[in-house]
Amino acid sequence: MNDLTHSTLNPGGKVLACIDESRYAASVCDYAKWSAVRMDAPLSLLHVIPNPPGGTVESEQNLSGTIGFGARNRLLEELATVDAQRSRLAVEAGRHLLAAALERLGGEDLPSVETRQRHGELVDALAALEDETRMFVVGKRGADTEGEHGHLGGHLEQIIRALHRPILIAQQSFAPPRRFLFAHDGSETARRGVGMVAQSPLLRGIPCHVVSVGSDPKRFASAQDEARDIFEAAGFDVTTATVPGEPQTALPAYEAEHGIDLLIMGAYGDSRVHRFFLGSTTAAMIRSCRVSLMVIR
C-alpha cells in the first residue's frame, strides 16, 4: 500500500496544466492556480504541439509519379522544409497561448510558475512528465472535439489510462469548489482514495459528501463509516449518503440537489478485462458529469 501511495502521490511534484486553443484553457488555468496555491506546489503550464497530421500541403502535391536522380534526398529536403515551417508556426502559436495563460494567472500568490512546450502526442508528453508531476489539470474537451456535446476529448480516456497521478478535468467555468463529492464504490481502491484525499491539503476544509450508488445502503455502510472517520479525523465536514440507480444518472442528480461543484472518482479496476468494462463506466461518468471532476488512480 505504501508503494502505491508513493506511485500515485508525488508530494514534491508540480501541478501541470495542459493549455491548448480550446475554450477550456481559461478554466484549466484557474483550476491549476487554485490547486497550486492550496497545495503550495509549483505550477507548470504545458502546451503540446501535435505531430503534423501527414499529407502534403495542397499546393505542393506532385502527382507526376516520376523519381529522378537523388529523388529520395530531394524529397526528404522538401518535406523537412514544409514541416519546419509548420512547426515554427505551431510553436509560435503555442507561445502566445502560454503567454496569455501566464497573464491570466497573475502570479503574485503562486509559489513558482514555468511554461514549457513539447512536440508529439498529448498522452506521450504527459507520460514523459509524470515523474515530476503531482497533479494534472486538463480541459474536458480538446480543441479538436470542442462543442461536440456528450463527446469526450479525443485524448482524455487514453490519458486517464496512461497516467497514475490525480487528474483534474475542468469544465468551462471556474469557481473555487464549495462542496465536493467523493464517489465511493466500496472497493479497495476507493478506500485508498479516501486516504489520499484526506491527506492532501488540496480540499482541506471543504465540506465533503461521501456518496455510494446502489439499491442496498447496508452494503456500503462499513466503507462509508470508515471514510467518515478518516475524513473527520483530517478535519473535514462529512455527509454520507447512498443513492439508488446508475452512477451516470444518480450522481449528477445528487450533485445538482446538494450544490456539489467537484466530483472525485477513481478510475478503478485492476485486471485488463476489468479495466476494459469499468473503464468505459468511468468514461460514461465523465461524459454525464456537469461539474469539474478529479480522477484518481
Binding site: N51, P52, P53, G54, G55, T56, Q61, N62, L63, S64, G65, T66, I67, G68, F69, G70, A71, R72, N73, L75, L76, L79, A80, D83, G154, Q158
Partner: protein, 494 residues
C-alpha cells in the same frame, strides 16, 4: 479502435487516394516487367501486386509504404521457375510467407541493426543496377533495332520532360498511353506485353499450388523460400527506414515482418509470385501525398480493376515503353549521392558498399550481397577496435622488476599486438602485469595472457597479475554480467 482507424486510415483520404492512383499506374508496368524477369506470365506479377498491396495495407507495420511484386524477389526466383515451373514458385511463395511470419513472431526485425548504412546503400545501388541490367535483353542483341531504341528514348523524354510542363498527371502513364497509341496507329513492329504471356482476365481466385506434398518438394523450394524471405524482409525493412525518415514518423518492424508474411501467403494462394516493399514506389507514394494505409489499399484495388477491365489495352503496350519506365525506376532507386560520398567517406565504408554491390551483381542474389556486406562491416569494426590497445612498462631501479600496464581492448584481432608489447628476452626476477585498464573480451585474449605468463615463468621470473578480475569482467559469457542491470557500469568503471 475508431481512433486507430482515424489515425492510420482516414486522416488523409484525398492525398491517399490520389497517391494510390498514381502508384497503381506506376505499379502496372513494373509488375509486368518483374514477371518478365522472373520468367512467368504478366498475370502472376499483377495478381501478386494486387494481393500484396491490399494485404499489407491492413497487416503491415508501416502506413504509407507500398509493397508488391518486386525486382529483388523476381531475380531470386528465376532459376526455380526455369527448372521447376510456376507451381513450385507458388509453393515457394507460400513457404516464404510462413518463414516471414515466423521471423516476425521471433522479433527478428530488430536484427536490422546489424545492417550498416553502407550495406543498405550497397543493397539499394545493386538493386538499381540489376533492374537496369534486366532491361538490357529488350534493347540489345536481336532487339536492338532503331525503332526500339527510338521508342525507349522518346519514352524517357516524356517521363522526365512532362513534369516540367505539368505535375498533375503521372508522366510514366502518359508515356505508356502515348507510345501505345502511336504504336497501334502506325502499326509499329514492336514486341508487346501480350507477347510476354497471359494477362489477368478475371478477378483472382483462390487456388492451392499443384505440387506433390513430399519431402522432395520441400527440398526444392526451401532454399528459394529462405532466400526470398530474407531478401523480402531486408528490402522491406530498408524501405521502412526510408519512409520513416521521409515522413518523420515511426513504424513497427516486427508487425511489418508478419504483414509481409501474410501478404506473401495471400499472393501464393491467388497465383501470384512473392513480393516485398518497393523503395521506388514507396517514394513515389510519399511524393504524391500518400501517408496512410489507405494509399496502399487504393493502389492495389485500382491496379486490379484497371488490369482486369483494360486487359486488352494493356496487352498492346509495347515493351520499349515499359523499358523506359523501368529505366526511370532504376535511376530513381540508385543512390547517386553515394558516388560523391565515396571520396569523403572512410575507406572501409566505401569498401563495404562496393563489395555489397559487386557480390549482388555477380550472384544476382541480394541476400548474399548483404551477408558479405555485414561480415565485412563486422571485420572492419573488429580491426578498428583492436587498435585501441597499448602496453606500457616501467623498470624498477635495480633493473630486476618490470611492471607492464595494459590499456585497451584485448580480443582476437589484438592479441598479437598484445603479445608484441612484452619483451620476453629481458632477464628479470619479477614481472608484474597490470590489467586494471584492459578489457579481455574472448578466450583468445585469455589464452594469449596464459602464453605471456608461461613464457616469463620459463625465463625464471615470478609473475604477478594485477586487476585480472576487472579485465575479465568483459567476458560476459562466463560471468554473465549481462544479466545484471549494472553490467554496463561494471564494464565501464575501470
Amino acid at each position: 479502435m475508431l481512433r486507430a482507424l482515424r489515425q492510420e486510415w482516414l486522416f488523409n483520404v484525398r492525398g491517399d487516394v490520389l497517391a494510390g492512383l498514381v502508384v497503381a499506374l506506376a505499379l502496372i508496368p513494373e509488375a509486368i516487367a518483374f514477371s518478365v524477369i522472373a520468367g512467368v506470365d504478366p498475370k502472376v506479377g499483377l495478381y501478386a501486386s494486387f494481393a500484396i498491396a491490399v494485404i499489407t495495407a491492413f497487416a503491415g507495420g508501416r502506413p504509407g509504404m507500398i509493397s508488391a511484386a518486386t525486382g529483388a524477389m523476381a531475380l531470386v526466383m528465376v532459376s526455380l521457375v526455369r527448372d521447376h515451373g510456376l507451381e513450385y514458385l507458388l509453393a515457394a511463395t507460400l513457404l516464404t510467407g510462413v518463414l516471414q511470419m515466423i521471423a516476425g513472431a521471433f522479433r527478428l526485425g530488430s536484427l536490422m541493426r546489424f545492417v550498416s548504412r553502407s550495406v543498405v546503400t550497397g543493397f539499394v545501388n545493386a538493386l538499381a543496377i540489376l533492374i537496369f541490367l534486366a532491361q538490357m535483353p529488350e534493347i540489345t542483341g536481336a532487339n536492338a533495332r532503331p525503332i526500339v531504341l527510338a521508342t525507349v528514348i522518346v519514352g524517357l523524354a516524356i517521363i522526365y520532360g512532362l513534369p516540367y510542363v505539368t505535375r498533375t498527371i503521372p508522366s510514366p502513364l502518359i508515356c505508356i498511353v502515348l507510345l501505345t497509341g502511336v504504336s497501334i496507329a502506325l502499326g509499329l513492329n514492336l514486341r508487346t506485353v501480350g507477347d510476354m504471356g497471359e494477362l489477368p482476365d478475371s478477378l483472382p481466385i483462390f487456388l492451392w499450388p499443384d505440387v506433390p506434398l513430399t519431402l522432395e518438394t520441400l527440398q526444392i523450394i526451401f532454399p528459394y523460400a529462405l532466400t526470398l524471405a530474407v531478401v523480402g524482409l531486408l528490402e522491406s525493412m530498408m524501405t521502412e527506414t526510408i519512409i520513416d525518415d521521409l515522413t518523420d514518423t515511426s513504424s513497427d518492424r516486427n508487425r511489418e515482418c508478419v504483414g509481409q508474411g501474410v501478404a506473401n501467403v495471400g499472393a501464393g494462394l491467388v497465383g501470384g509470385m512473392a513480393g516485398c516493399a518497393m523503395i521506388g514506389q514507396s517514394v513515389i507514394n510519399v511524393k504524391s501525398g500518400g501517408r496512410g494505409r489507405l494509399s496502399s489499399l487504393a493502389a492495389g484495388v485500382v491496379l486490379l480493376v484497371m488490369v482486369v477491365f483494360l486487359g486488352d489495352w494493356v496487352a498492346q503496350i509495347p515493351m520499349p515503353a515499359l523499358v523506359a519506365v523501368m529505366i526511370m525506376v532504376a535511376i530513381g532507386t540508385f543512390s547517386w549521392e553515394s558516388l560523391g560520398a565515396l571520396r569523403t567517406n572512410p575507406k572501409s565504408a566505401s569498401v563495404v558498399m562496393i563489395a555489397t554491390v559487386v557480390v549482388v551483381v555477380v550472384t544476382h542474389n541480394l541476400a548474399q550481397g548483404v551477408l558479405v556486406g555485414v561480415l565485412l562491416s563486422a571485420l572492419f569494426f573488429a580491426r578498428r577496435v583492436g587498435q585501441f590497445l597499448r602496453v606500457q612498462s616501467t623498470l624498477s631501479e635495480d633493473g630486476l622488476h618490470r611492471t607492464y600496464e595494459v590499456y585497451g581492448q584485448v580480443f582476437f584481432t589484438s592479441t598479437e599486438a598484445f603479445l608484441d608489447g612484452f619483451d620476453f628476452g629481458e632477464a628479470l626476477d619479477r614481472v608484474t602485469i597490470d590489467l586494471t585498464h584492459a578489457h579481455f573480451w574472448d578466450i583468445t585474449a585469455v589464452s594469449s595472457l596464459d602464453k605471456a605468463v608461461i613464457k616469463f615463468r620459463r625465463d625464471g621470473a615470478q609473475v604477478d597479475l594485477v586487476g585480472l578480475n576487472e579485465a575479465s569482467a568483459t567476458m560476459v559469457d562466463r560471468f554473465a554480467v549481462h544479466d545484471k542491470p549494472d553490467a554496463v557500469d561494471q564494464l565501464m568503471a575501470h
